[in-house]
């Protein structure tokens, strides 16, 4: 079973946790000033990188606290967990979806899909 290190409780089984999607999304200071395109992107468009991703997680069946985690979406390995509001120490490793960290060789089936 995958173990996730809650900042409050230590290593705990993954079934106690709930994922809350991408972390570090900054709400616009003045939403009324945005056009529809920018506002909808803020609300709905999330990055979906192949590589390290910063996510919000909740230890819902434990201490009940939200925290952030760096997870590698390829290996499903948790690189780091840190309290909500903090910044990761390995922020340089976060993969931007526009710039894939690794060149992927897709098969014919994947390319068609």
């Amino acid at each position: 079973m995958l173990l996730i290190a809650c900042p409050h409780c230590g290593n705990r089984p993954e079934t106690e946790f709930r994922c809350g999607g991408q972390a570090h999304i900054v709400r616009p200071v003045d939403p009324a000033a945005l056009d529809d395109q920018s506002w909808s992107e803020h609300l709905f468009v999330r990055s979906n990188p192949r590589g390290v991703h910063a996510e919000r997680w909740c230890h819902s069946h434990g201490c009940g606290r939200w925290f952030n985690a760096l997870r590698d979406t390829v290996s499903d390995r948790f690189l780091e967990t840190y309290p909500a509001g903090a910044q990761p120490t390995r922020s340089s490793e976060i993969t931007s979806p526009e710039v894939p960290a690794t060149v992927t060789q897709s098969t014919v089936t994947q390319a068609r899909a």
């Binding site: 079973m1 409050h8 409780c9 705990r12 089984p13 079934t15 106690e16 069946h61 434990g62 201490c63 009940g64 606290r65």
Partner: protein, 196 residues
Amino acid sequence: MLEVRYRTARTLPLGRPVAPALPRGGILIQPAEAEARFSLRLRGPLSPGGFPLDRPINTVTGDDRRWVARLGPDEWLIGMPEGEADLLAEAAAADLRGRAHSLVDISHRNVGIDVTGALAADVLNAGCPLDLGDAAFPPGSATRTLLGKAEIVLIRHAGAVPSYRVECWRSFATYVHGFLQEAAIAAQPVERVPAR
């Protein structure tokens, strides 16, 4: 009248009388009697008199009858004999006067099931993925976790024999109790049938 009905229901945690459990192969699963429980939420400095609130997260202080378990940075679960419930509410109100806090009586929501015996950790591990070894979960530990499909609070009291308290919601009590009983059967050492 309603209060009387509630208190009667509390004495039957599974909604029906249960025959006294017999220890079977080093495991005893026994629904606890009616107890009072409180959920305390409090932020800020932890120095109210009379309550051991400033202990590490996921630990319990007190004995089998009166205990305070810290489940998170700002959450405590408090258990005590039912007769002392009113006293606690008064004492907490006096201690925490002027501070934003929430003290909720959840006696009717919670049911306790005691799991005692040498095989207790094996039985719980049938549905709970936590590491219950002495290093990871020593006596004095308490945490919220999962047992099968139900959310529970697991408390390990001190003692020579491993002794756990499973606190679950009343509507889950029948499921949790049945789950533990089946797990106890599965945890028994297999009697080897001699080959013919």
